[in-house]
């Protein structure tokens, strides 16, 4: 269901980014990078009010339309973690069966897996994620799409 999953560090560099159509990787990178604008805007606008809320899910924020290769637009759902690490899931919106709570559960899974990565004593916070477990979890989320 997801076509691109990205984990963005607090400093806005990608900790992890993976997309399914590999030939389109660059476009996804551009899209995810641009998305950060909206994420930052959203966080700063809502951030203080939402600070104590447990809800980190920001919802659909950045719809675009890609007419060249994928004549469909993608929905990006974002969640911001407490460590200001951002998750971005890019979903091909031609997959219309996807509901909001499914996206949420994807984020939950992603978040849990990320927490596992952080718990690894050999992982240096700030390094790019190279965990196989994380990778396979992301793969699983992407495989469901195809």
């Amino acid at each position: 269901m997801a076509v691109c999953i990205a984990v963005i560090a607090k400093e806005n560099y990608p900790l992890y980014i993976r997309s399914v159509p590999v030939q389109n990787e660059l476009k996804f990178h551009y899209t995810v990078h641009t998305t950060l604008d909206v994420v930052e805007e959203k966080i700063s606008a809502v951030g203080k009010a939402m600070a104590d809320q447990r809800e980190l899910y920001l919802g659909l924020l950045y719809p675009t339309e890609d007419y060249k290769v994928y004549p469909s637009h993608m929905i990006k759902n974002m969640a911001v973690t407490n460590s200001k690490v951002k998750f971005v899931i890019v979903v091909d919106s031609s997959n219309t069966s996807l509901r909001d709570n499914e996206i949420r559960s994807m984020f939950r899974k992603l978040h849990n897996s990320f927490t596992d990565v952080m718990c690894n004593p050999f992982y240096n916070p700030g390094d790019t994620i190279q965990s196989k477990a994380f990778d396979s979890m992301v793969s699983a989320m992407m495989v469901q799409a195809s």
Partner: protein, 1269 residues
């Protein structure tokens, strides 16, 4: 309202619910104005079914004349034309009239209504007082007429008949009646709404439920539900109206989605037909009737349906003052439409959709601009910017499609496409024909020519960039900028493109998006190449060639670009292109050989660099050079202080991994270099005052990160020009080929000049290109030093003992001097320290790292004055070591006054011997000088020897007999064997005989122990006045097995050895007593006897003043005795001292009686008798005036008196004591006062030494003293 409207035009906002009026038209017309005014004046609460929220509503109505045609026919769903209420007006007050005409009329009216199933009617009876008054006679009371009407028509619905009294009068009654009427009217209207709308909704729902049946048409349903929406809108319930449209929207969307999922509905087929027109949204009209008709007739395309739907939603939203929702919905709609067209596989001319989206975006923006003021717009840029960007994007793609972006202009194919696209736009709508800025005009113009397109595209792009910037979406702005750059590149205008690319690149680099960096950089490279910016292009190429994100082919391509340029045979004068090395290769580590990185001048030092080439192919370097900076401040010549092992150097210097483009920016930032510091107190280095951590690179760590990127970041868009230092020392290495990956390059470092060298830069030259690493960090130093030759002689053991052969280590550090064959050390011989080493001795040669290199044999030649040690050839900066055996002769006489001259003319320093306090050994410093071949100066060498023994002598007497005792103390830590102890006279002149009383055997003297020796001195003739003796013994170290005995001498001198006087003392009890008793007086008789013959000039006072050379003094005429009781067991009665005049002749005797009293009982030792020479004041002292004698007497008398007053013991009162006191004073003042001079130890012999006398306790027994010790 005039009832001429046959078919109401649907202009919803102006529409009002229709109310028909029947009956007396004239009456109604007269009442119409107040009615139309007052009806909407008061709001009504509209409670609705299905739990929908009640709404407050201001009712208005369109009053039309009742016609039968107005009544809806069966199945007519039109709601707008539906009459919600039918009113019958009458002012009839005459029952006859009523019965005659009005009643029938009403019946007909009601029958009509009933026929059409309409139950919403009311009969208004207008009552005027005038009419009443006119014909009073046959007038029924009003109430009765009303009752009649009620009776006739409203069976049980009494409220269907209303009375309006005096409506045109301004009275309270009229008012009341009006308001009652209005209320009734409103209530009835609402009831009608509720009822009719409810019924309508019911029907609508039924229709919707049939949607899965064949033949159901969405368009039909659309019309039905829109009817409802219209009514809500008419009732100004825009929310509800919007809900209707949203439901329609959702329904349609769902159908499309289902279609996509394979569940196609027949009616959707009409929407799947190819789209022929793409006129875009049209939001200027509240209702686009044209499109509505299309929908109604089922001929609308998907775009038209969507456009119409959005147009309606937009109108309602703007009416609801929610313009920002419009923009948001617009964006969603546009995205959604694009997707739906795809889902439905609607065939469309390529680019048509772009046209539609572009037009729609602009139309929405125009619409929003039309209803908001500037401030509002600026505050909500974030809502509109998406549309701007979308429009920009679409225009761009249109431009590309129609060949408007290329340099050459559109091709014919592209022109045809343009024409087709423009044809699909149709004619401009009437609303915008006159506006200059309509989206239609814009698009048409933009597609018409290259220039116009550029103008419009740039305008849009810049607007989008500006807006993004304004709301802080820098990344989005960058992205738009990037597409602008692409546009410029297509236009062949790389200058314009570059700044946009740089902006984007900077942002990507700073945020660490490597893939984006790579992509942008590729564009950048192209841009720079087009511009002919060789240097930056090459730099970018270098970065790209080392970029892991690129394929190998691409990397090789860029690498080849560099190499091609580098190998261009341009004239040599051309400036070489300097590039930053960080993109080309990384310095990984650096290693010195030797690892200490400290060499003496002239030695080979090698630096091994590990350089990781980032290039994909092997790069042949013409030269790799490292510039070094020489710092002369330290280490120039003071090689003595800085040995080779001065500081511990790490074996290899590792360089932190240079920040590659793949590295996140946070990691690329400098990490703090921390160092622990400890502050020790100066007094005690072990106690710690404070400790802490110090960050050494605060200036880097604390630097603001958001400011411009640091200049040495290799990822910088335009690299800072790196300048190669000129004139610095260079380490060169030619013809190196850098293979991809790690390369090891070895430099030979020149080490001629002295000083500390710092590696500064690294420069790789490839043809015309130089890659320069501007800073090598951390700093790497190496040091070249020079050292003078040094010669040291050190004792091999802790202490060198004098008298025994000792070994000393000679260490020769050659420094920069090369010891050649034939070089020799020349040692001046010292008598007191001969060199014992035989003609050859082994020597070791060590290199600078203290490794044994060679061994050889030294040849030592000794002549009288000089010992010559020939050295083996030794290379510079080596150490030659050998041992010398030396012997320090113990000086027999510690007092040696004369200076000796060394053979080389230097003043010979007498071996300085000094006694260390306590039992320490006497040290002797032996100095020798060595002539070295490398210096014209002699090297003085000092060795300290310690004498292991200390000797003391003493003279013992027994009457006339004399003994000499020598005490030999071993002060060293070594045990010695001693033998052959002898005492000899130094000058064998007198007939002395020294007879040893000691054992002849070899003796062992342990460390810190002493041996005593005694000799009996006998003489035949006269005893010499001065005895000069030498004690000698042979000793050897007890630890050594082969005992080579070495001599030890101790010379001493004894003077005035002869016994002159003997003193004999006797203590006699008081007369008549056997023993002495304590507390009672007894007598002491001392007898002083002269034993030796006095000499001739014995009485010469002057001789005393001549000092030590005077040896002739034998006796004096006057002696002074003193009874000194050291143990305070005696009290002297009377004089304890006195002067005795001894006759000159031998055996002259003098007796003195002194009275004593013992204080204790027991065996008391005799009190000591001290005898002094008495020297009266000098008579022949010429300088001494006579008056001094008087002064002396005065002082004496002055001194005596206070002593008398004290009433002390008799001994103090005595005259002699006063004299002795006086003599003490005299010595200090050097006045001619009488002096006392003690005899030498052997000159007075006391016979009674050690005698004791028995003292009994006093007889009276009063005092019993027990002295317990």
């Amino acid at each position: 309202m005039e009832p001429q409207e046959e078919k109401p035009i649907i202009y919803t906002m102006e529409n009002k619910p229709i109310v028909t009026c029947a009956g007396d038209q004239a009456l109604f017309t007269s009442l119409y104005t107040p009615l139309a005014q007052q009806l909407p004046r008061e709001p009504m609460e509209w409670r609705r079914s299905y739990g929908r929220a009640p709404r407050t509503i201001h009712l208005e109505a369109n009053f039309v004349q009742f016609k039968e045609e107005l009544l809806p026919k069966e199945g007519n769903k039109a709601l707008l034309t539906f009459p919600f209420l039918h009113i019958y007006w009458t002012d009839c007050c005459d029952i006859k009239v009523y019965k005659a005409s009005v009643r029938d009329n009403m019946m007909r009216w009601q029958g009509n209504l009933r026929l059409h199933g309409s139950a919403d009617w009311v009969i208004v009876v207008v009552e005027t007082s005038d009419a009443k008054k006119k014909n009073k006679t046959n007038i029924l009371p009003r109430s009765s007429l009303v009752d009649k009407i009620r009776n006739d028509f409203c069976n049980k619905q009494n409220d269907r008949c209303v009375v309006l009294s005096d409506p045109l009068k301004d009275s309270s009654r009229s008012q009341e009646s009006w308001s009652a009427f209005l209320l009734k009217l409103r209530t009835l209207l609402l009831m009608s709404f509720t009822q009719n709308l409810g019924r309508f909704e019911e029907d609508m729902r039924t229709l919707r439920e049939k949607r899965n049946q064949p033949g159901w048409s969405f368009c039909d349903y659309f019309m039905v539900q829109e009817e409802l929406a219209f009514v809500f809108e008419m009732l100004q319930q825009c929310e509800d109206a919007l809900v209707q449209y949203d439901e329609l929207d959702a329904l349609f969307t769902q159908y499309v989605l289902n279609f996509g999922a394979g569940d196609g509905a027949n009616w959707l087929g009409s929407f799947c037909s190819p789209v022929k027109r793409w006129t875009g949204l049209l939001l200027r009209r509240p209702i686009d009737m044209e499109k509505r008709d299309g929908i109604q007739s089922g001929q609308a395309s998907l775009l038209e349906l969507r456009s119409y739907l959005f147009c309606r939603q937009c109108t309602l939203l703007i009416f609801l003052q929610r313009p920002w929702e419009v923009t948001q919905r617009a964006l969603e709609l546009l995205h959604n439409c694009v997707q739906e067209l795809c889902l439905l596989e609607v065939s469309m001319l390529e680019g048509a959709l772009d046209c539609w989206v572009f037009l729609s975006c602009l139309e929405v923006l125009h619409r929003i601009e039309g209803c908001c003021d500037q401030a509002q717009l600026e505050a909500n840029v974030s809502h509109t910017v998406g549309l701007w960007a979308y429009a920009t994007d679409k225009l761009k793609s249109l431009g590309y499609m129609c060949g408007l972006v290329s340099e050459k202009g559109p091709l014919s194919l592209e022109l045809n496409r343009t024409v087709d696209l423009l044809a699909g736009l149709g004619d401009e709508k009437a609303e915008t024909v006159h506006s200059l800025q309509s989206p239609y005009k814009k698009l048409k113009e933009a597609l018409s020519s290259v220039e116009a397109f550029e103008r419009h595209y740039l305008e849009l792009s810049h607007a989008a960039v500006e807006m993004y910037r304004a709301i802080g979406r820098m990344r989005s702005a960058g992205l738009v900028g990037k597409s602008l750059a692409e546009f410029y590149m297509r236009k062949g205008d790389p200058e314009q493109a570059e700044s946009f690319l740089q902006n984007a690149l900077r942002s990507y680099v700073s945020e660490g998006w490597s893939l984006l960096v790579t992509h942008t950089r590729k564009q950048m490279a192209e841009c720079q190449k087009l511009q002919g910016k060789t240097e930056t292009y090459l730099q970018t190429s270098a970065l790209l060639a080392g970029d892991a994100n690129l394929t190998n082919e691409e990397r090789i391509h860029f690498c080849q670009e560099i190499l091609t340029f580098a190998n261009q045979s341009t004239d040599s004068k051309a400036q070489k292109v300097t590039l930053s090395m960080s993109s080309f290769a990384q310095l990984k580590q650096l290693q010195f050989r030797p690892a200490t990185a400290t060499v003496h001048s002239g030695t080979a030092l090698q630096v091994e660099l590990c350089l990781r080439s980032l290039m994909p192919v092997a790069v042949p370097l013409e030269q790799l050079a490292a510039s070094v900076h020489l710092n002369l401040e330290q280490g120039e010549t003071n090689g003595k202080t800085r040995g080779p092992q001065r500081r511990p150097y790490p074996e290899t210097v590792l360089f932190p991994l240079g920040n590659s483009s793949a590295m996140p920016p946070s990691a690329a930032g400098p990490s703090p270099e921390l160092e622990e510091i400890q502050d020790c107190s100066p007094s005690d280095p072990r106690s710690l005052n404070s400790t802490g951590m110090v960050c050494k690179n605060t200036h880097l760590v604390m630097r603001r990160h958001d400011s411009s990127p640091s200049p040495d970041t290799p990822n910088l868009v335009s690299p800072v020009p790196v300048v190669m230092d000129d004139g610095a020392n260079m380490l060169m290495s030619g013809d190196v080929t850098l293979l991809p990956g790690n390369n090891s390059i070895v430099f030979s470092v020149p080490s001629q000049e002295l000083g500390t060298y710092t590696l500064r830069q690294l420069c790789a030259t490839v043809g015309q290109v130089q890659f320069i690493l501007p800073h090598i960090s951390p700093l790497v130093h190496y040091e070249v030093y020079s050292q003078e030759s040094q010669l040291t002689v050190e004792p091999l053991t802790d202490q060198l003992l004098a008298g025994l052969p000792q070994r000393a280590k000679v260490r020769l550090q050659t420094g920069h001097y090369t010891v050649k064959k034939g070089d020799a050390l020349q040692l001046t011989n010292i008598d007191s320290m001969p060199i014992l080493t035989s003609s050859s001795c082994p020597a070791t040669i060590l290199n600078s790292t203290a490794e044994r290199v060679d061994e050889s044999v030294l040849f030592i030649q000794s002549s009288d004055k000089v010992t010559c040690i020939s050295l083996p050839p030794t290379p510079p900066y080596h150490t030659l070591e050998f041992q010398l055996e030396v012997l320090c002769v113990i000086p027999s006489d510690p007092v040696r006054p004369e200076n000796q001259r060394l053979t080389n003319g230097e003043i010979r320093h007498r071996p300085r011997s000094y006694n260390l306090p306590d039992n320490h050994m006497t040290a002797i410093n032996q100095r020798m000088s060595i002539d070295c071949p490398w210096s014209i100066y002699s090297t003085p060498i000092s060795l300290t020897f310690y004498i292991p023994f200390k000797a003391k002598h003493s003279l013992l007497s027994a009457g006339n007999r004399k003994y000499i005792q020598v005490c030999l103390q071993n002060v060293s830590d070594v045990n010695f064997h001693l033998m052959d102890q002898r005492l000899t006279e130094k000058h064998r002149e007198s007939s002395l005989e020294l007879q040893s009383l000691n054992t002849k055997a070899q003796q062992l003297v342990y460390s810190k122990q002493s041996l005593y020796y005694v000799w009996d001195v006998r003489w035949k003739e006269n005893m010499p006045l001065c005895l000069q003796c030498v004690f000698s013994a042979s000793f050897s170290s007890a630890s050594e097995e082969v005992s080579a005995f070495k001599p030890y001498h101790y010379a001493f001198q004894l003077e005035r050895v002869t016994t002159l006087y003997s003193v004999r003392t006797e203590i006699m009890p008081a007369a008549g007593q056997q023993n002495c008793h304590s507390g009672s007086l007894c007598g002491l008789e001392m007898s002083i006897t002269r034993l030796a013959e006095p000499e001739d000039d014995e009485d010469d006072r002057g001789t005393e003043k001549k000092g030590q050379t005077e040896t002739e003094e034998v006796c004096s005429t006057k002696l002074m005795y003193k009874v000194a009781d050291g143990s305070s067991s005696w009290v002297v009665y009377g004089r304890s001292s006195g002067l005795v005049s001894m006759p000159m002749d031998a055996n002259a005797n003098h007796r003195v009686q002194v009275e004593l009293m013992p204080l204790f009982a027991g065996h008391l030792p005799f009190p000591d008798i001290e005898v002094f020479k008495y020297l009266p004041p000098s008579a022949n002292s010429a300088s001494q005036p006579d008056t001094d004698g008087c002064v002396e007497n005065d002082t004496l008398s002055l001194l005596v008196r206070p002593l008398d007053d004290q009433g002390d013991t008799a001994s103090i009162r005595s005259q002699g004591t006063v004299h002795s006191v006086g003599s003490g004073e005299q010595q200090s003042r050097v006045l001619p006062m009488p002096r006392l001079e003690p005899f030498s130890p052997g000159q007075v012999f006391n016979h009674s030494q050690g005698c004791q006398v028995l003292v009994l306790p006093s007889t009276d027994g009063h005092v019993l003293e027990i002295n317990a010790t």
